[in-house]
C-alpha cells in the first residue's frame, strides 16, 4: 500500500486489528456508484460476506467474488474491470485518472445548465400571450472536440424547452392514441362474466360459500395486452426539422405504456430508452441530447439496421413486438446491405410500420433507391403529408389496415412511372 493509507479514494492500509476490508469495500462500492453502476447498501453487505466466505485464494478469486455481487449486466463488466484495477492494484493511478478528468469536468460545468421546467415555470408566472412568440428553431452547435471522424458529423443538439401548450398537446395526442390501441391476447386469464372457460378455483370457493349445495360456475377469459413497441427514429440532417417533436411524442409514449424501446439513428445507433424514462420531459431530452452524438449528420440506414439486428433484435423483438421505423429512406450507402437487414428485421418482428415524414407532397412517388429497397419489407407504409403536430403523429400511429398504407401500392406506382 502507498503512503496515504487514509485516502478516501484508494484502499486504506491495514490497521492494527489486521485488515480494513469493510472500509475498502465501501469505498470501492462508492467508486462504482460514481462510475454509473447502481450499487446499494445491500450489495455492499453481500460483497463483504462474499469476501469473507474465506477460501478466496488470491486476487483473481477476490475479483470474481466482487464481480458476482456488483455487476448485474454484461455491459457493466468493463467499468467494473477498470475500477477494480484502479482501486485494488494501483491506488496512485486513480488520483492520476481523476487529475486527467478534472479539466474536462470543469469545461462541462461551464455552460449554465438550464433547469428543466424553467420555461414552463416562466410561463406560469408571466402571461406570455402578449409576448412575442419565440422562434421554434433548433439551435445546433458543433462540438469540435468530438468530430474526430471524417465520415461523421458529431453534433450536440440544444432543444428548446417544452411549452405548456405543447405539453397539453402531447397529452391529448396520447389520449387519442389510447382509443385505438391494438391489443393481442396473452396466455394469461382474468375473471370475466363473458369468458368462455370455467375458472375452477373461483368456482370452488364460491360454491363453498353456499355450503356446497350449489356449484355456481365462474368464468374467465384471455387477458389482452399491448405488444412491445420498438421505435427506430432517424435523426439525420434531412429529418432534423421533426426531431424535437418526435422526441416529445416518444417521451410521452414511453411514459404512457410499458415495453417501449426507442432507438435513434443517423450514422450510428443509440438506445435512448433509459434517458426517455425520466418523468420530466426537459430533463429527459437533455439526457438524450447528451447521449446521442450524431445529430443532424448523414444517414447510414443499412449500417444502423445491421447494428440493431446484431446487437438488439434478439433482446427487444420478443413476445410479438411491433416495430415503427421513422425515416425518409434517403440512404447514401449500398442498397444490398439495406435489403438484407430489412428482410431480417421483417422476419424477427411481428409487424413493421414505416412512417415517412418527408413526403410532404401529394405527388410523392417511391423513386429513391433506399425507399424502393425498404418498401417490400414493411407491412405498412405511412407517408405523412403534413406532419406539423403531435396530433398528426398520433393519428399516423393508430392502427388501421387501410389499403392506402399497403406498401405494394407504392411499389407498383413507382414501377409504372
Amino acid at each position: 500500500m502507498t503512503a496515504s493509507p487514509m485516502s478516501p479514494q484508494g484502499p486504506a492500509g491495514p490497521d492494527d486489528e489486521g485488515g480494513r476490508l469493510a472500509e475498502n469495500i465501501v469505498h470501492f462500492a462508492r467508486l462504482l456508484r460514481e462510475a454509473g453502476l447502481s450499487v446499494g447498501p445491500g450489495q455492499i453487505l453481500d460483497a463483504l460476506q462474499a469476501a469473507r466466505a474465506g477460501c478466496l485464494r488470491g486476487r483473481e478469486d477476490f475479483y470474481w467474488a466482487l464481480h458476482s455481487v456488483f455487476v448485474t449486466a454484461r455491459d457493466q463488466h468493463p467499468v467494473f474491470d477498470q475500477a477494480f484495477k484502479a482501486f485494488w492494484r494501483q491506488p496512485r493511478m486513480l488520483e492520476q485518472l481523476m487529475a486527467l478528468m478534472l479539466p474536462e469536468i470543469a469545461i462541462k460545468a461551464n455552460p449554465p445548465k438550464k433547469r428543466s421546467g424553467e420555461r414552463r415555470l416562466g410561463e406560469a408566472m408571466f402571461d406570455e400571450a402578449n409576448a412575442p412568440r419565440r422562434e421554434q428553431q433548433q439551435e445546433v452547435e458543433l462540438d469540435a472536440s468530438f468530430s474526430f471522424s471524417a465520415d461523421e458529423l458529431l453534433r450536440r443538439k440544444d432543444f428548446e424547452q417544452m411549452s405548456v401548450e405543447e405539453q397539453a398537446e402531447a397529452r391529448a395526442a396520447i389520449a387519442r392514441l389510447r382509443l385505438d390501441r391494438v391489443e393481442v391476447p396473452t396466455r394469461r386469464f382474468t375473471p370475466s362474466h363473458a369468458g368462455t372457460r370455467v375458472d375452477l378455483r373461483r368456482t370452488m370457493r364460491s360454491s363453498l360459500r353456499s355450503g356446497g349445495d350449489l356449484i355456481d360456475l365462474q368464468w374467465r377469459a384471455r387477458q389482452t395486452r399491448e405488444p412491445p413497441l420498438v421505435v427506430l427514429c432517424d435523426i439525420s440532417g434531412s429529418m432534423s426539422g421533426y426531431t424535437r417533436m418526435f422526441l416529445h411524442f416518444l417521451h410521452a409514449l414511453t411514459n404512457d405504456r410499458d415495453r417501449v424501446q426507442v432507438f435513434l439513428f443517423g450514422t450510428r445507433l443509440t438506445n435512448i430508452t433509459r434517458q426517455l424514462e425520466r418523468r420530466d420531459v426537459d430533463e429527459a431530452l437533455d439526457a438524450v441530447s447528451e447521449t446521442v452524438e450524431d445529430w443532424s449528420g448523414g444517414t447510414r440506414i443499412g449500417h444502423c439496421l445491421r447494428e440493431f439486428n446484431y446487437l438488439w433484435a434478439r433482446r427487444v423483438l420478443t413476445q410479438g413486438a411491433h416495430v415503427l421505423i421513422i425515416t425518409d429512406g434517403l440512404d447514401r450507402e449500398d442498397a444490398g446491405d439495406l435489403e438484407l437487414e430489412m428482410a431480417r428485421l421483417k422476419r424477427a418482428a411481428r409487424r413493421v410500420v414505416w412512417l415517412n415524414p418527408l413526403l410532404r407532397f401529394d405527388g410523392f412517388e417511391a423513386r429513391a433507391r433506399g425507399i424502393r429497397t425498404m418498401l417490400p419489407h414493411v407491412d405498412e407504409f405511412r407517408p405523412v403529408h403534413n406532419l406539423e403536430s403531435l396530433e398528426d403523429l398520433a393519428s399516423a400511429l393508430s392502427y388501421s389496415r387501410k389499403a392506402e398504407y399497403d406498401p405494394r401500392r407504392w411499389l407498383e406506382k413507382a414501377r409504372a412511372a
Binding site: A73, R188, D213, V316
Partner: protein
C-alpha cells in the same frame, strides 16, 4: 451418491471436473460463493455455452434432486407453484353432501388441505426429504413475462410461497437455485440483485479442447484440435449467430459418425448446418470462405507443432 458442499474454490473446480464439466476459475468462484452464501446463481450468456448444464452437473455431483422449471410466455402460478385438485375436491363435496354432513367451516378446511394440493416445481423445491435441499433450475427466465418475474422475488429472497387458502410454506433447507437467461429480454434489476450474476462467455481454445476431451473422448486428438481451432476462428467471423460449445460437441460427434479423422473442405461444407443455424451465415461461410479458414488454422496448428 451424496456429497458435502465444496469447502473451497479448488474443491468446486474438482467437483465440477468430476462430473465432466470444465469450468474456468471465474465460474467456479461464483458457484462456490452461491453455494456458500445460499444465494441464487444468475447465469446469462449466448445459447449453447453450458448454462443449463451447470445445474444438471451440480445436482449430479452433489447427489441432489434436480427440479427444473422451464419458463415460457404466460407461465402462471398454477403451473409453476401449485394447483388445487378440483375434480377430487368436487367429489369430496358430493360425498359430504351424500352423508348429509355439511358443516361449512369444516368443509372449507377439508377441501383446501394439503391433500388436494398439487405441487408444481417451485413448491417441490421448498421440500427437502432427508434434509437434502434439491437443485432448482429456472431455465430461460427471459422467456416468461414481468409478472412472473415479480412473483419469483418472494420465492427467491425468503424461499417461501404463500398459498392463501392454506398457509405460508417456508423452506426448511433452501434449495440451490440456478437461473439461466439467454438475454432475449432484460430481466429486472430487482431480481438480479437477489442473485449472484455471472456472464458465461465462449471458452478459450485450451478450455474448449478440454471440454471436447471430457465430453466426446471418442474424437481423435488431431481431429479435436482442428475442430476447436476451426470453431474458434469461426467465432471471430462476422456471423449473425456464432456457434456455441454445444455446437462444437455436436460437430465432433457428427464427424466421428462420418468416420473422419481430419477436416477437409468438402466435409465442412456438408456438415456446416451442425455449426451454423442461419441460412445467411451458412451462405457466407460455404465454399471458399470455409476453405480459407481451414487452411489458415491448419497452417497455425502446423507452426505450433513445429515449435
Amino acid at each position: 451418491m451424496m456429497r458435502d458442499l465444496p469447502a473451497s474454490i479448488d474443491d468446486t473446480v474438482d467437483l465440477l471436473n468430476s462430473a465432466r464439466y470444465v469450468a474456468d476459475r471465474a465460474l467456479a468462484t461464483v458457484v462456490f460463493l452461491s453455494l456458500r452464501m445460499g444465494r441464487p446463481l444468475f447465469l446469462e450468456g449466448e445459447a449453447g455455452v453450458g448454462k443449463t448444464e451447470i445445474a444438471k452437473v451440480l445436482a449430479d455431483a452433489l447427489g441432489r434432486r434436480l427440479i427444473r422449471l422451464q419458463c415460457y410466455e404466460g407461465l402462471d402460478v398454477a403451473s409453476a407453484v401449485y394447483e388445487w385438485n378440483y375434480p377430487a375436491q368436487m367429489v369430496e363435496i358430493r360425498l359430504a353432501e351424500a352423508s348429509g354432513d355439511i358443516d361449512r367451516e369444516r368443509m372449507t378446511g377439508d377441501i383446501f388441505s394439503e391433500r388436494f394440493l398439487i405441487k408444481r416445481p417451485l413448491l417441490q423445491a421448498l421440500e427437502a426429504p432427508d434434509g437434502l435441499a434439491p437443485v432448482l433450475l429456472i431455465d430461460e427466465l427471459d422467456r416468461t413475462d414481468e409478472a412472473f418475474e415479480a412473483f419469483l422475488l418472494e420465492v427467491l429472497s425468503d424461499f417461501q410461497v404463500t398459498v392463501p387458502e392454506l398457509e405460508t410454506i417456508v423452506a426448511e433447507h433452501p434449495p440451490i437455485v440456478i437461473i439461466t437467461s439467454n438475454r432475449t429480454r432484460e430481466v429486472h434489476d430487482a431480481l438480479k440483485r437477489r442473485c449472484l450474476y455471472h456472464w458465461v462467455g465462449y471458452p478459450d481454445t485450451a478450455r474448449e479442447l478440454a471440454i471436447v476431451e471430457a465430453r466426446a473422448p471418442e474424437a481423435a486428438g488431431d481431429l479435436a484440435q482442428e475442430v476447436v481451432a476451426f470453431v474458434q476462428a469461426l467465432r471471430g467471423e462476422d456471423l449473425f449467430k456464432r456457434p456455441g460449445v454445444a455446437e462444437t460437441l455436436d460437430w465432433v460427434s457428427a464427424l466421428h459418425e462420418l468416420d473422419r479423422v481430419a477436416l477437409d473442405p468438402a466435409t465442412i461444407n456438408d456438415t456446416l448446418g451442425v455449426l451454423l443455424k442461419y441460412q445467411d451465415d451458412i451462405a457466407r461461410m460455404e465454399g471458399s470462405e470455409a476453405q480459407r479458414l481451414l487452411s489458415q488454422i491448419q497452417a497455425e496448428l502446423k507452426a505450433e507443432a513445429n515449435r
